[in-house]
């Protein structure tokens, strides 16, 4: 219940951008890397916000953690791995590629291919049905009709 209340409170605690001046690193290159990493990490207590744009306390802690790892010399990949090791895949806004997320990553391509395939098959089938050449009987009938038309 308490968690739900906190979640609701945070849901509306949107305004005022997140990153505070006192968190920022002096080195602009490192700071920029921190920002890029933060954009891909989920604020776990928020609804669908990255830690970069949430002003929740936990998001702040994570932002500071990311910067600490960067300062201690981690690569971007290592920082992300460090956070994932602590909080699990749920923290990644870009879902990792694994068995439970195949649906997400293959889904669009599969849907497109299936739909395109179905359309082509349907179109071919219809073209065959409707553009069937005339049978000899039909041909004779058409000829006679045309002849009738020509001789009033």
């Amino acid at each position: 219940m308490k968690a739900a209340l906190i979640a609701i409170a945070l849901l509306f605690a949107l305004p005022a951008g997140a990153v505070e001046p006192d968190e920022m690193l002096a080195d602009p290159v490192l700071e920029q890397r921190a920002r890029e990493i933060s954009k891909n990490l989920r604020c776990l207590v928020c609804q669908n916000q990255s830690i970069d744009d949430s002003n929740a306390e936990l998001a702040r802690d994570l932002r500071i953690l990311v910067r600490q790892r960067l300062v201690s010399g981690d690569t971007d990949e290592e920082v992300t791995q460090f956070v994932v090791a602590r909080y699990g895949d749920f923290v990644l806004l870009k879902p990792p590629f694994k068995s439970t997320t195949y649906v997400l990553w293959f889904g669009p391509a599969v849907i497109f291919t299936l739909a395109a395939f179905t359309l082509v098959v349907l179109q071919r089938r219809r073209a065959r049905v409707e553009a069937k050449p005339l049978s000899p009987a039909e041909r004779r009938r058409l000829d006679s009709l045309l002849d009738d038309g020509l001789d009033p």
Partner: protein
């Protein structure tokens, strides 16, 4: 007393909807003219009752009647009048009343202007509308009564969430609902056609204007929502791939596909069965959108499970409406006669590809929004799907889409000349090269994707202009002759040109603002300056002011460039004491090519303040482009084939009746 009248009117509306939804349907089946004729008055009566309920609720809000629970929860006596009015639909129960008001208004419009529809089709369309209305009215009366009283009445209300007390968000829901509910018309026509077992070009001609109305409104509604997010949330972002946004984006994508396939159905008598399916899918996505936002399932699957009454009710409605219509489609569509043939490379073929890409995009958003919920619900663990996923999946779909948008209008119906189209697009290709090289030269540090985005925008814009001037034979025949041709072009053609140009503008805005935003976050003391993308921001301090139902801290920035003053910006922080919440109001100065954007944050304990300053290149183009798109839709809606014909046929019918 008045709330009880409203409540009672809702109950009466339910009965009108029940009659509208059943007897005309049976009447059409038994060819009973009297039963069929019930549909029109029932639609009118239903509208009058819903309007009564809506006005009763609005009366309660405007007069701050705190004996009504809904008003207590969402209003306050000190709230400005505009937000007392918009508060009516700023909450769950009230928004359902607005939904029903629009639905019954549209039903009423069919009853009034549908004189030229075949009587059985009209009866069935109105009956399906009646059934939708029945479902929603049952939902409201059993789970979401807006007129519930509270005793003893509190002295004052809890106020509306301050974030919603904003002009942008006051009009966001009505536009969104005009869109959702507008698609219900296409849906009703689709279901009626399936029951009739017949779809002809006249049917498509009826579906198209409703789809256009819905599409324009939804476009504006989404743009308003994103604009609001941009200036209210305080860091210059405007689209978050949030489930609530996705809920409105899915019907938009499907509706765009529907708009295009309805054109083929109308002009070429082809893709009819597909158009019907699209109409069903589009409205289903609108219903799912309403469900997602209203059931609380998004906050958490678990909170949803704790109080599932509303959610289960909507879920039941969804299953009946979507499942039922899909079953009906599966049963009846195969029997429908297929229309004209076309070669793969043709206007029809390119519109099929357009539909394929748009529907795959809609399916992608659907997957990304719902898969995490499903996975969690079946105990498969939790997964986050955020903006990086959507960027990764959406861009590959939209790039071919935009390339195609310039080519497709140049292809002829039935069999097109691709080589000829490319020859005509030489100039557009040249523009692409110039933009790509120019962007590369000016912004070499930016992402490659941004170069591609701007080049695509240039391709589409130029291609659209080339196509349009081709119709006028501009520069190939005399100017006078071209103007004469321009005067005779159908408005639908103008509409398409305008809307496609609007997309090009939006693409440019999205690309530039995501790639080249400049951000400066720092503590500033009065008198200190910061340089942001060549502009000098001087902080002059803050002052305290009093708003109607909030207190204001207002900062002042003087902005100058090359020593010349450009603008003064007044970002605010507002505190709403009733709810104890704070909002930020960004100060924005818009030039043609960028927004200067300023926000103030906390004081640092001394006289300094956290300030966030942004330079957002081309960001205004996103909303300008969206408005241009909606304008294109409106121009297309005014095409004479939607205006002329209907009254003429009615007069003819009346004349023959007199004879």
């Amino acid at each position: 007393m008045i709330p009880e009248i409203g409540h009672y009117a809702l109950i009466l509306a339910l009965f009108a909807a029940l009659i509208q939804g059943t007897l005309p349907l049976a009447g059409a089946q038994r060819a009973d003219a009297a039963w069929m004729a019930l549909a029109r008055p029932a639609a009118g009566i239903q509208f009058i009752f819903i309007l009564t309920a809506f006005l009763a609720l609005m009366h309660a809000y405007v007069t701050s009647d705190f004996s009504v629970l809904n008003v207590v929860n969402n209003s306050h006596s000190a709230k400005p009048l505009l937000y007392k009015i918009s508060g009516v639909w700023g909450n769950h129960e009230g928004s359902m009343v607005l939904w029903m008001l629009i639905l019954s208004l549209f039903g009423c419009a069919v009853a009034l202007f549908g004189g030229n529809l075949p009587p059985t089709l009209r009866a069935r369309v109105l009956a399906v509308q009646g059934l939708i209305g029945t479902g929603f009215l049952l939902f409201m009366l059993f789970t979401s009564n807006p007129f519930e009283r509270v005793f003893p009445a509190p002295l004052d209300g809890n106020d509306l969430n301050p974030l919603l007390q904003d002009p942008g968000l006051a009009f966001h829901p009505p536009f969104l609902y005009l869109g959702y509910v507008g698609f219900s018309m296409a849906f009703s026509f689709a279901i009626a056609a399936l029951i009739e077992g017949r779809v002809d070009a006249a049917w498509a001609r009826w579906v198209r204007p409703w789809t256009l109305v819905a599409w324009c409104s939804l476009t504006l509604g989404i743009a308003l929502g994103s604009w609001w997010a941009y200036y209210e949330l305080g860091w210059g972002g405007w689209w978050f791939w949030d489930p609530v946004e996705n809920a409105s984006f899915m019907p938009w994508l499907a509706g765009t596909a529907l708009l295009h396939s309805a054109t083929v159905a109308e002009k070429r008598d082809a893709l009819k069965s597909w158009t019907i399916l699209l109409a069903i899918i589009t409205f289903s996505l609108s219903l799912i959108g309403t469900f997602l936002v209203r059931s609380g399932v998004l906050t958490s699957v678990h909170t949803f499970a704790q109080d599932p009454t509303r959610g289960l009710f909507i879920l039941g409605l969804l299953i009946i409406a979507i499942g039922g219509s899909l079953v009906l489609y599966a049963l009846r569509a195969p029997a429908m006669k297929a229309g004209g043939l076309f070669a793969p490379i043709s206007r029809e073929g390119s519109l099929v590809l357009n539909n394929l890409l748009l529907m795959t995009a809609a399916a992608t958003v659907f997957l990304g929004t719902l898969y995490p919920l499903v996975l969690d619900a079946v105990g498969g663990g939790t997964v986050s799907v955020g903006p990086p996923y959507f960027t990764a999946t959406f861009v590959p779909l939209m790039v071919p889409m935009i390339v195609l948008m310039a080519i497709a209008p140049m292809l002829a119906w039935k069999r097109g000349d691709l080589a000829g189209a490319f020859t005509r697009l030489r100039l557009a290709a040249a523009v692409v090269v110039v933009i790509a090289l120019g962007t590369w030269y000016l912004k070499s540090e930016g992402p490659v994707l941004a170069v591609l985005g701007l080049a695509l925008a240039g391709w589409l814009f130029t291609g659209t202009l080339i196509e349009f001037s081709g119709r006028l034979k501009l520069f190939r025949i005399g100017m006078r002759e071209s103007l004469r041709r321009a005067a005779h072009l159908p408005r639908a053609t103008y509409g398409m040109t305008i809307a496609h140009a609007g997309i090009a503008i939006v693409v440019a805005g999205i690309t530039a603002s995501s790639a080249w935003q400049t951000e400066k976050i720092q503590v500033l003391r009065p008198g200190e300056t910061v340089e942001v993308a060549g502009y000098i921001f001087t902080f002059e301090g803050t002052q305290e002011l009093q708003g109607p139902n909030y207190t204001i801290e207002r900062g002042t920035f003087q902005v100058s460039r090359d020593g010349a003053p450009i603008a003064r910006l007044f970002p605010e922080r507002r505190f709403y004491p009733v709810q104890g919440r704070q909002t930020t109001e960004a100060a924005i100065y818009t030039t043609w090519f960028a927004d200067l954007y300023a926000v103030i944050g906390d004081a640092d304990g001394e006289d300094g303040r956290v300030t966030r300053l942004y330079h957002n290149p081309l960001v205004p183009w996103i909303w300008v482009g969206a408005v241009v798109m909606a304008m294109g839709g409106a121009v297309s809606l005014s095409d004479r084939r939607h205006r002329v014909g209907a009254p003429a046929r009615r007069r003819a019918a009346a004349a023959s009746a007199r004879a």
